[in-house]
Symmetry: C2
């Protein structure tokens, strides 16, 4: 509790220190997380993901500024899963620093990979919990890329924005198929660039595939655009497509409104609680996995593991047979 109390009191230095401990998964970090847990569950977690070159960082920056104007406290967690070995630099920090530095209502944390994807997802979950307990109203989780990593991290968020930009290459469509299904709001940033219409058309076509409801409505000959606001009827959320030019603030008010509509939808439909539950379950699963393996390996004599590896390398025993044998020899 000695580490947790200053966080609840709003001590920024203590917050920074605890974040490091939590990221590194130290014992103190873990017990502080347990102590803070009852104070979590209030923040709105917004994931922002998209390929490099879409201007995600500028967009996150602008969203943060808008929430600040509403008097909300904003945390930004910038996650870079593509840098597993270097623990390298995270995108967009310079952009951000210019506009947000010195604002006590904003806290920015950059995270590189923790060696494994599971580790990064767990660390990100833990960091958002600390911010949540510390009373931040909005937590923006920014991830770069469009792979499984982003999907794992998106599971943390209540609202997920997938950011696109015109003219990012020809076979980028294929990437979107998976990532589209985690999108609550689609953003076409850099919308002043040529090709914005075809990007929007492509996204809407893919949305129709991913969300059959939209298609049905168009089969009925309706011309109206099925955007987020039209969904209370069906109880379903159709991801709206919002155009922005983050560097000029264009489209930001509309995007913020879409985010607010999504929160209202989450609350009225019961999806907020469902996502919360799925999130807790996922976190539980991650920890269970780590703990079972750690317990098993702690009880395993290292030379058993060594000789087993030797046998595998000599093709005498397959990895699966090795696992079976070790589990049966070490009933712990």
């Amino acid at each position: 509790m000695e580490l947790a109390q200053p966080i609840l009191n709003g001590d920024r230095l203590a917050l920074a220190r605890l974040l490091s401990r939590v990221e590194n998964d130290t014992l103190e970090g873990r017990s502080a997380l347990d102590a803070l847990f009852p104070h979590t569950g209030r923040a709105h977690l917004i994931g922002v993901t998209g390929a490099p070159g879409t201007g995600k960082s500028s967009l996150v920056n602008q969203i943060a500024l808008h929430f600040r104007k509403q008097g909300k406290r904003v945390a930004i967690v910038a996650v870079d899963p593509s840098s597993p070995f270097t623990g390298g630099a995270v995108l967009g920090d310079r952009v951000r620093m210019r506009d947000l530095a010195g604002d006590p209502g904003v806290f920015i944390r950059s995270m590189a990979s923790r060696g494994s994807l599971g580790g990064l997802a767990a660390a990100t979950a833990a960091v958002t919990q600390v911010f949540d307990a510390a009373g931040f109203d909005v937590i923006l989780i920014e991830t770069v890329g469009a792979g499984q990593s982003e999907v794992e991290i998106a599971r943390l968020a209540h609202t997920t924005l997938v950011v696109e930009a015109p003219g990012l290459g020809d076979d980028i469509q294929a990437i979107k198929a998976g990532i589209l299904e985690i999108a609550d709001i689609l953003v076409i940033n850099k919308a002043d660039r040529p090709g914005v219409e075809s990007t929007e058309r492509a996204l809407k076509t893919m949305l129709e595939l991913a969300h059959p409801v939209r298609k049905v409505f168009r089969h009925h000959g309706q011309v109206m655009e099925l955007n987020g606001e039209d969904t209370p009827d069906t109880g379903l959320w159709i991801p709206p497509v919002q155009r922005t030019v983050a560097t000029e603030g264009m489209g930001l008010p509309e995007l913020l409104q879409a985010i607010e509509r999504h929160v209202a939808h989450l609350r009225s439909s019961g999806d907020w609680a469902r996502r919360e539950r799925a999130r807790l379950q996922a976190e539980f699963d991650l920890i269970l996995r780590e703990m079972l393996v750690a317990r098993f390996l702690a009880n395993l004599p290292p030379k058993n593991m060594e000789s087993m590896l030797e046998s595998m390398q000599n093709r005498e025993i397959s990895p699966r047979e090795a696992v079976y044998r070790l589990i049966n020899e070490n009933k712990n």
Copy 2:
């Protein structure tokens, strides 16, 4: 063994059937894998990864054709980790079909995500083992993207090609920092496009950062390019940068030579055995994890899990505390 024997005899239909079983991780698939394991360890596994738009599929296609000319049997495993929900289509199949269809020395398998990244890596490992046992000399593992997923899958390969192309966006550099460290050979495909010089310059600068040896050599005022062939002196492998235009076959013979030099380096340095060992260890870890969790959950009454989730949602107990409590209540 009834599933394994036809594979060893070169039965393509049996191979296709077994691949499905192995991908779906069925009991028959598992026992066939165990039976085939002693016959593995001979194939050269080549990973090919890179962002969308770099022309990976055409390149893989050309590499396969070149190995075919040498009389080698080639398997292609095309992995798309970005499509976790749809199990969607994989890039480049059309390109490939045109040149390789009907060649009995080639086998192509497309894989979408198996729900989790760990699952996909495990399934990919299993599929390559089947091809290895079936006597394919070269197995090309193609992955799309540049995130943690590719890194996980690259761990399977003996030789990893990272593919770039000129003019793919401005902040794509940041992505490369992590992915560069898994590259054994860097390919600039579409090298007839404008901007190829600056892409090559950027890659070489990043290589200097990742491989200090290269830098040292340049500090000594040497003008010569430190490419793969210069490395026997130091015992280190400096990833060469190869330009190609896959659609026209340009640069392919040079790329194939670089791949051969890398194999020679792996053999002479002992890295082949080290990578093999790391690969077996990683596979063992994956299976151990899955098996421990499965065993634990099988012994856990579902209502315990339900009420624990309830308590978490009411913020009475943190996920970590929940795991502790369940593990202590269920010593199995």
